[in-house]
Symmetry: C2
Subunit: 346 residues, 2 copies
């Protein structure tokens, strides 16, 4: 008997309908998954992995709740040159703070940054950079901070492209996040950047909700008030979500070992190693910035997103290396159709 | 035209089907929501709140992604007498460790606990209790620890009831978690207990997945090995998820302010205050242990789950106080039908 003929109950009808809806959605997906990816072995490796783990008839089938995918953000989901965008936010925020408190103009390292702008950042050591971040990211309520970041993301523009920073997200990676989501994966951002900074704009940019964003954190302190209390951001790092901090951040937040990890720098080495070292089917994806024309070309010598050991170990560990110049037909959504056509012909 | 007549596309058909499925599910839910709750004002307040926030036509409608509900665990989703169950696990674990290392039998506070059993716990000060927890909860890999807890949860039994601890979960609260989930809420556990301890059994007990369990945490350290690395549990507390630590834990993990909070002790005061202090519709639920016959009766004088200030402030802050003896027709699922019938007649 056909499952749609004279259903005996709502559950039976719903099951039948769910089957046809799923079939319809699948047919639609299969028309052109990952359209901004060229038809290279990298794209094929992704499609093959997803097909294997999501097909209940496959030996490599993974139940939906274990299909956890983690993505680094800076240089992986959006660009990170000429400097991590969060640091560019810090410079803009410092300028606003100096309007209110001119004494900042006389205090190093703020004086250097206010005079030299982002270019001065290269001259700062780690302690000075931390001082800049603490001064611009802490000492206020969490909700107030996120509102400041949201305003910045809605208005500030990138020095090279003149586009908003949220338009510097990579079209192929946004498609990959959607594609995995459509195939039963739960996608998380796992970034060295600040979690509150990302939560202000990343949900709209990637369709990844705040509870699936993991990042570095400052200490928070609950302070009672007449409106139920505030969560004050304290000038003390509670967790650095980079390198060996990434598996730790994942375990604390998710409590499951991912089966898919995507990163672009040595800061993602431990996350990739931990993800792909588990039993069963696993995929590690390492993005190599090879396109100096459409984006930037950098790896071992870069002061941001340094990629050395991870690139060297990728072949042995079976990670798929994404060669941006070769594998991506389009980098940013704002590229004109002419750009994309020219690239597609390369 | 009827939406089911000659659908033009899969999406239209799916939308129509989704409507009927939702209608079917709703009709089924409405038959008897919260069957273990008596028909008291407390139950009515819950049903009214859920109806208001989930009806798109209501002035109090809350979009689904903002329908975040948080539940304390000990004494709120499962029992906590005569001592937090996690501490009873620690005692059992200490006994196993003493088999391997008999020198523990001569070291206080372990010697006292090994001789006196759980009864000796009341005599321990905070430092001694922490020493017991560190010795039994840290120094091993995260996955290995969770396997130990899972084994314990599958076999250890409660001293009064002789049932497994996971059967000491409250039937009315499990129904409430399900009911909220069926109405578009996302439910989290937010407990002072250890997150890794809870993740070993709570997903099966409540249908709440590991990524929606927030608790106290030890420092984790990533240690590379040939299988992708381990996450070693270090003898240092990273976060105490109790009292003012609860709003902090929620903000770090979820990044949204809940609209529903449920707790049972002064350790839930800040979570309840923060949740219900926000704009728009909110509900705070405070469980008062008033049933010495079916469970335990305790509040201000209890050494576990002390309830004093929260109970005093509940009326002013508009929280619904659950009177266990009055509001619950059934406490545990293992109660016999005769128990339940006798209770229902009270």
């Amino acid at each position: 008997m056909s499952p749609l003929r004279r259903p005996r109950s709502w559950p039976a009808l719903c099951a039948a309908l769910a089957f046809f809806c799923a079939f319809g959605a699948l047919a639609q997906d299969d028309r052109e998954p990952l359209p901004s990816w060229r038809e290279t072995p990298t794209r094929a490796a992704i499609l093959d992995f997803v097909a294997r783990v999501s097909d209940p008839a496959s030996d490599d089938f993974v139940p939906q709740d274990a299909r956890v995918a983690v993505f680094d953000n800076d240089g992986n989901l959006w660009a990170e040159q000429p400097m991590y965008f969060q640091v560019l936010f810090a410079v803009d925020r410092l300028r606003a703070l100096a309007e209110e408190d001119p004494t900042l103009r006389r205090q190093p390292p703020f004086s250097d940054v206010l005079t030299g702008g982002p270019a001065a950042l290269a001259g700062l050591d780690e302690a000075a950079l931390l001082k800049l971040v603490l001064a611009t990211h802490t000492g206020l309520d969490s909700a107030a901070f996120q509102a400041l970041v949201a305003d910045w993301a809605a208005s500030a523009t990138h020095p090279r492209f003149g586009e908003r920073f949220t338009d510097l997200t990579y079209a192929p990676m946004r498609e990959l996040v959607d594609y995995l989501g459509n195939n039963g994966f739960t996608c998380y951002i796992v970034s060295g950047g600040g979690v509150a900074f990302m939560r202000a704009w990343a949900p709209a940019a990637y369709g990844i909700p705040p509870e699936r964003i993991i990042g570095s954190r400052f200490q928070l302190v609950y302070q009672p008030d007449d409106a139920g209390g505030q969560l004050r951001r304290m000038p003390e790092l509670a967790h650095i979500n980079d390198g060996p901090g990434k598996p730790v951040g994942i375990q604390q937040a998710i409590g499951r070992r991912p089966i898919f990890a995507s990163g672009n720098s040595d800061g993602d080495l431990e996350m990739l190693t931990w993800t792909t070292g588990g039993d069963g089917p696993r995929l590690g994806l390492l993005l190599h910035h090879t396109d100096g024309e459409r984006e930037w070309a950098y790896d071992r010598e870069s002061h941001v997103g340094r990629l050395d050991e991870a690139l060297e170990r990728a072949p042995d560990l079976g990670w798929a290396v994404v060669d941006m110049a070769r594998d991506w037909a389009r980098v940013f959504a704002f590229e004109t159709p002419a750009d994309t056509a020219r690239e597609a012909a390369r």
